[in-house]
């Protein structure tokens, strides 16, 4: 355990930044897209600017209620993952505790997002104090309002709690997470301009009428950092109708996702969209992690499309891939 591989030193030294910077050369400049850079070598982590936050996040983030073992977090870090997503409610706080214990000695080299389900300002601020304690940190990088699908889910008091927390240095950036009716919610957040980052369900199984591509492009133009979740359409724990509106039946989707390599193809599908800064995925084993990291650096191809059964042509996908 004493001899950690050089990946940590590499990240800590800031040498990763040129890689991160290069990942962003395709962001719109004055409304004109610039050519995409060549894909990075297979298996190498890619980094993005998270909207206008200035945070450099790995395009693959780790999420989910808890990994099977803390050692998986160590491995993820050594493979270049620097973005970890949790929530106050996950496993009644055990998820935050595990994350806090894993990164207590290297807090500054990771980006941690957590969330509150509170419905009032006071509750939210109390949740924040608990999250800080459980994470063993005096700040949280991104503090999300958890699972807000319609504007009424966010009374002004919650935005005020985020503003206060930011002012006090307890959080760096404010966020909102959502699973349903993203089009309306994201447009609402763009309009009121109080959100730095969104964490949104986004996957290949979503029908075109949800207008996710258009909505995410608009959010990017507004400078909002975009993190995707549920990219595998619930595949790890079985596809469920509650994971989002699917055009087909969940059973058929589950069959597709059981094809070897389909999970990674689903992840690649989400990351092919250059407006998605990072995609968080739940991981339980080193094998899954290795596959996902390889997927991050590879373009979405016709073969991927066939595997997950998307109608969209890979050529169209390549236009969006960054």
């Amino acid at each position: 355990m004493a001899n950690r591989p050089s990946r940590r030193a590499f990240l800590a030294s800031g040498l990763a930044l040129p890689v991160a910077a290069s990942a962003n050369q395709t962001l719109p400049t004055g409304g004109r897209p610039v050519p995409a850079p060549p894909p990075p070598p297979s298996g190498q982590m890619v980094y993005s600017d998270l909207g206008r936050t200035g945070l450099k996040v790995s395009r693959l983030g780790m999420g989910g209620s808890a990994p099977s073992d803390p050692s998986v977090l160590d491995l993820a870090y050594d493979m270049g993952v620097n973005f970890f997503d949790t929530a106050r409610t996950y496993a009644t706080g055990n998820s935050e505790r595990m994350l806090g214990a894993a990164f207590k000695d290297r807090r500054k080299s990771v980006v941690i997002a957590t969330k509150t389900t509170a419905r009032t300002k006071d509750q939210a601020l109390r949740d924040l104090e608990t999250s800080l304690k459980e994470l063993g940190s005096d700040y949280i990088d991104i503090w999300h309002l958890h699972g807000r699908n319609v504007p009424a889910d966010i009374p002004d008091g919650l935005f005020e709690a985020q503003r206060l927390a930011k002012q006090q240095g307890k959080i760096r950036f404010s966020g909102v997470s959502m699973h349903f009716t993203m089009k309306d919610m994201i447009r609402h957040l763009m309009k009121i301009r109080r959100t730095d980052v969104i964490l949104t369900a986004y996957n290949f199984a979503m029908p075109p009428e949800m207008e996710m591509e258009k909505t995410l492009a608009a959010a990017r133009a507004a400078g909002i950092g975009i993190v995707a979740m549920r990219t595998m359409a619930g595949g790890f724990s079985g596809t469920r109708s509650g994971d989002g509106p699917y055009p087909g039946n969940p059973e058929a989707l589950t069959i597709r996702l059981k094809r070897p390599g389909a999970m990674v193809s689903a992840l690649k599908w989400a990351l092919r969209n250059r407006f998605v800064d990072s995609a968080v995925a739940g991981v339980t084993t080193p094998d899954q992690l290795t596959e996902n990291v390889a997927g991050v650096s590879a373009p979405f191809t016709d073969a991927d499309g066939k595997l997950i059964g998307v109608a969209e042509r890979a050529a169209r996908a390549q236009e969006l891939f960054a």
């Binding site: 001899n3 073992d69 491995l75 929530a87 009644t92 055990n94 997470s177 979740m229 080193p286």
Partner: protein, 284 residues
Amino acid sequence: MMKLIYSLILVLAAAGLLAAADQAPVAACNVVPGWSQTGPDRSYVADNLFEYMDGNAEGYLTYGFVKMQGVTCKKGEVTFVVDLSDFGDADSAYGMFTSNVDGRQPTQKIGMQGQIVPRRAFFAKGQYFLEIAANPEGDHTAALKEWMAAFDKLIPGSTTLPAALAWFPTEQRQSLRLVPKSVFGISALKRGYAAQYDYGKAFVVQEATPQSAGAVMTRLRTRFGATGTVTPAEVADEAFQATDQYLGRLCVFRKGQYIGGYAITQDGMDPIALSKSLAGKVSK
């Protein structure tokens, strides 16, 4: 005539059995006097739990969640959100308990085991997992104790803890949980108990047969051999020691259909000695 009577008795007996099987416990506000229900009943299955629990639903699903029924109860300004989940079997329900328990807080003998903290209480009994979240901010321990006791009487099922729990030493233990898949992050170790200690961690996984456990041992030797040296150790039926970059100094043993061992990250502790002690407690 007698045939008809016997047939009638059989039909009635079968109907009685079916009715008994259908008597699943129900979360209701009148379980404790003085409380009344606010809002509608909640009911979820694996397909739609996500709508209620958000990302936290994953934790339930990995433990084999079957269904949930819940109510919100009110007394004065206090509300209790009560949810009763069915996990299909006692092992999975207890697993759910272990994933939620705060290892720094004491547990109570409610059902198999429970925990009560100022704003939250939960316990596992048989195949059921009962949880209550209290609002507003404050210490609701007394009322939560009353509710836990009432549901302990109402919910059927075993109150016996899984035997494996007694195998793990308690000194310097931070947590002990049922890992539903990939114990220690290793896919070959499908499902089992893992304990976190100040100095490292221990695990026990049960395979179907000694033969299948032997096959897993072979896979583990190959896995750890790929990145380091694997040497035999004298523990139980078969064992080896190795060093892993992330897990530390390891000893893994097989005793019958069980695979167990230690991964040590602190100097001064011997994984082989600890594994011998653990293997001695594992009953085939």
